[in-house]
Subunit: 401 residues, 2 copies
């Protein structure tokens, strides 16, 4: 589907060299335990060029010799692999009631993790909490840092490194990348948290499709779009903002100022509110009996009720799935992406929810497109935003994704 | 927004040379009347490299010397421009009751045009009509043909050159590109007609945004998406199929098999059907009085009624605009593209329709995204598909867009 790009700047030999160096590293990263001859064959580069590039990668410590391959008559060939602990990635997720941070290695494996409660901090105080999080992580690094990436809710200009608007944290046009770069002196990348979650599923999800949409269902609903292996940000960095598209005519007022947004009817928060109302109205209901002594219905209670076959709770989940299916139909009709992935704690409701999404989508979009679209729960579930942050650093810093 | 691509194949000096040759041609095409020194400055290439590439372009006749620039002390520099009539482009549009064809020059100016009525031809007969159209055009060529491009309704695999499904013409998995290439022996490109219309607006519309969505409103509703200057096809080549996303719960049965598709309520055909019903029910209505003696309400009648201030006709148009606004809200929320362009004969209703679209969209998507989005009628209106076909040939064949 990708046509050759119309040229916008000159190509130089320097570009060619950089390109081929990245190609070699990517080949070693993807294939693992390969000889120089394998790399030459897989890339089409000469063995001399490959040896030259590999020498540089060994020098930097990014690649290490990992053993010997089978002999093909002569000396057994030396195998190469990524030296996965040669660098560490500082990954942050600001999307929850705790700021989460992790040190991640070059294969996406987690080391030290730190969680700091936000406790309502906003503006400069929230920024200081980010610094504290990074400082605590850096106190534990065991290898040079390749870069830092951060996912935040809101409109994040990933190119300019600017938080354009993050309502909860009260950040507006905050030059977060520059602030972090000045303080820590290594490459910094920032992006919307749903965008990073989509990149995580793309990079580590184990499916080889080059395009996908990941829908993050939590308190709100957001999505990230990966097209041809890259995050699609949109011109205002708001691509995938499906949580604030209206689905109910004259519906409930949303925090965004409009009425009937998808978030107000299909999010976990919306489902919980409906469950709470039922429990409050009817003390004999299954939901009322399951809830805690304090009277609050939890998400676990809703799941329990569904599992026990409570029709009321099942109806709440099914209706939310049906409504999300309308949004999914729009994603399929507009993007014709073959893989739509749902993540977040809604996945705990299992088939009930996702079957409702699938059925609803199938009835609302061109049959040929619906038939070609898989709607699935995410393969990677935990720490999706942190994983996406690591993928962004690896993609930008080394070109391996 | 575009990050560096992860490498998938080796770069070679040959790539560098091709890339720079295209860059020089694109610079001459875009800037027009430039000296070799100008081109060197604009591209960052050395004057020797530019002179070398220009010599090749002069040889091929694609570029011509167009005069002399102002002297900067010494000899006045020779100016270069695209030789716009050096090649002809064979452009076809199969989206109407006539198959339309045109010979187009390298600047998108139309020469010979041929229209052949389809008269219900399908399958092999429709294919023969395409051949007849091309044959008639080729009888009039005045320069070598750079290529042929064809826009057709349906699912068109632009990469494989395959008509996967075109219901009206009864083509299924038809290898149309190969058939035409074998017969005519020059490069052939095929694509969905709405996709080409979007490319036309991008290439010739005079706006410098790299992204846009064009909505084609006629008997049906389709759209084309241009991202970063390229048609976005989608994995099944169905991107932009918004006409068959449901917008009315349990609405009217659509030809696609689903209910309540956008086409069934917001297309020109749907508006006409509503207008006809009103005229039939009420002989005193403005619509009844305007219609022809045969009793059929035409699209011109609907416009006249609107212009005369008839509330009934205006309500039909406004409601259609409101419904289209729902689809536009989804486009904005998903893609965050800053420019949505509407084309087709609905544009004749002027402000009434487009204001309804804008208002509806604004109330249905995140205010910050709505505020950044222009909803406009197309700058180029006539022959959009033919123009898009010419842009596809120029883009693929010469890299000038």
């Amino acid at each position: 589907m990708r046509h050759s790009q119309s040229p916008t700047q000159k190509a130089t030999r320097q570009h060619t060299k950089q390109h081929n160096a990245r190609l070699v590293l990517k080949t070693i990263y993807t294939a693992g335990d390969v000889s120089r001859a394998d790399v030459a064959r897989m890339t089409g580069l000469t063995r001399a060029t490959v040896s030259n590039i590999v020498a540089g990668l060994l020098d930097k410590g990014l690649v290490a010799e990992s053993g010997y391959g089978p002999s093909l008559g002569g000396k057994p060939p030396i195998l190469l692999n990524m030296a996965e602990d040669a660098r560490q990635l500082v990954c942050l997720d600001l999307g929850n009631e705790h700021f989460n941070g992790a040190l991640v290695n070059l294969r996406g494996h987690f080391g030290e993790q730190v969680n700091l409660p936000v406790n309502g901090r906003t503006a400069a105080e929230a920024l200081n909490l980010v610094y504290e999080l990074v400082d605590q992580l850096l106190a534990n690094v065991t290898a040079p840092v390749l870069g830092l990436a951060l996912g935040s809710p809101g409109l994040i200009d990933a190119t300019a490194g600017l938080v354009k608007q993050s309502v909860n944290l009260d950040w507006h046009d905050l030059p977060l990348r520059q602030l972090l770069q000045d303080r820590y002196n290594f490459p910094v990348y920032i992006a919307n948290d749903s965008h990073l979650a989509a990149l995580a599923e793309y990079s580590y999800g184990g499916d080889d499709s080059r395009n996908l949409v990941l829908i993050k269902m939590g308190q709100g609903i957001g999505s990230g779009i990966v097209l041809n292996g890259r995050i699609f940000y949109g011109e205002g960095f708001g691509a995938g903002e499906i949580g604030h598209v209206s689905v109910v005519e004259n519906g409930e007022l949303c925090t965004c100022g409009n009425h009937g947004c998808l978030e107000t009817v299909a999010s976990v928060r919306a489902m919980l509110r409906q469950a709470q109302a039922i429990a409050d109205e009817n003390p004999d209901s299954v939901l009322a009996q399951l809830r805690s002594s304090g009277g609050t219905v939890s998400w676990a209670n809703v799941q329990q009720a569904c599992e026990q076959g409570d029709a009321t709770a099942q109806e709440i989940v099914t209706q939310a799935g049906k409504t999300l299916g309308m949004a999914v139909a729009n994603l399929v009709g507009i993007l014709n992406v073959n893989r739509i992935v749902i993540a977040g704690n809604v996945t705990q409701t299992g088939d009930l929810f996702i079957e409702a999404v699938r059925t609803s989508m199938t009835h609302r979009v061109l049959p040929k497109l619906a038939a070609g679209t898989a709607v699935q729960y995410a393969n990677k579930e935990e720490n999706l935003v942190l994983l996406g942050a690591s993928a962004l650093i690896l993609s930008q810093g080394l070109g391996v994704f």
